[in-house]
Amino acid sequence: MDPLFAFLLRQGDNALVLGHRTSEWCGAAPALEEDIALANTALDLIGQTQLWLGYAAEVEGAGRSANDLAFLRDVYDFRNLLMLEVPNQDFGRTLMRQFLFDAFQVPWLTALCASSDQRVAEIAAKSLKEATYHLDRSSETVIALGDGTEDSNRRMQGALDYLWPYTGEMFADDEVDRAMQAAGVAPLPSDMRERWDTSVRETMQAACLTLPEGDFAHSGGRSGVRHTEHLGHMLATMQVLQRSYPGASW
């Protein structure tokens, strides 16, 4: 696979999978304001998906559209981080995941603004504004819930412990990353590690949460070779309309 196409799929699939997961809260969040906030966050992510997958489809040059890539690929063709496909579980885990991802996205998209690929730089600049806003909210909410009641603290610690082994995948460089670095399209994801570590450590401290010690990292999402069992279930819901009524539109 062309490394630029693979890189763009990763960008788009991260936004799409997290956007879909976040949209599952629509009408079901614990408070009206949170329902609206989650729906808006999901909307931003789906908008970013259209930009990344739209460009991916152009680069592939096989006549596919962003919609084709979103709705007609199966599990093993997805290139998103495993952390983004695991179920929401509860509001706490949803916001913890959002924070752990936002804390990566902000420095990552900032670096992509200087990409040698003009389209990548443009999409990154657009997405960065939204990601910065998401990070404000997710970090504030993680602190409020961590430093909240006994129950909210316990749930947030549980969320952090559960998600922690999935965070390492964000920084595991592979041949696609090295090709993108060589072409000046993107830095190595591992270059983001120090900044991410610092912001996560500071936020968890303010949230009265303990960083897990293990450094085991699940992998397989960014390469597509080993997704969790959850992605297939998510796609079954997300893609059912196009699978049942191919080409349906309104």
């Binding site: 304001e33 609206i36 808006n40 909307l43 931003d44 970013q48 730089a121 657009k126 939204e130």
Partner: protein, 156 residues
């Protein structure tokens, strides 16, 4: 149309000034800063727009509204282009647009990150309810003097 030969860019801008934002109809798409360029060549008109938020569903409606408004003026050869760079910023809201937002009850964006005052009673005693609101471009705030909730146009 006989008027086709006399279309000017200024005329097209003036027509677009009358196209309201579908979500906040007191301001026009020009006031909102989403119209980034107009060019006219004979009877061919090209309008460039930029999205406010990348997923804002109003963008599709804005595109249709622009097409419809210009078609009513006799423009049949319209090219509508979307560009994302430079990324839209609330700095592009016009002064007129900012004033109209406030009259309508929506506090205009401030670089400080929150509303300057309550759009209903002008009190500066305000507090945030939520960073998000009824559309991607707004957040929810409330006034602790008159107790009314209000929308704040997010500053990005």
């Amino acid at each position: 149309m006989t008027q086709a030969a006399t279309i000017t860019e200024a005329q097209v801008w003036a027509w677009l000034e009358d196209v309201p934002d579908p979500e906040i109809p007191v301001i026009s798409v020009v006031d909102l800063g989403v119209v980034r360029g107009v060019s006219v060549s004979g009877d061919q008109v090209a309008v460039t727009i930029t999205p406010t938020y990348s997923g804002c569903p109003a963008m599709a409606v804005i595109a249709i509204d622009i097409e419809t408004a210009l078609a009513r003026k006799g423009i049949t050869d319209l090219t509508l282009k979307t560009q994302i760079a430079p990324a839209w910023t609330t700095d592009w809201l016009s002064e007129k647009g900012r004033a109209r937002l406030e009259e309508y009850g929506i506090a205009p964006p401030q670089a400080a990150g929150g509303p300057e005052r309550c759009p209903h009673c002008q009190s500066t005693e305000v507090e945030k309810v939520s960073q998000f609101g009824s559309t991607p471009c707004k957040a929810q705030w409330r006034c602790t003097d008159c107790l009314e909730p209000f929308d704040y146009f997010k500053c990005i």
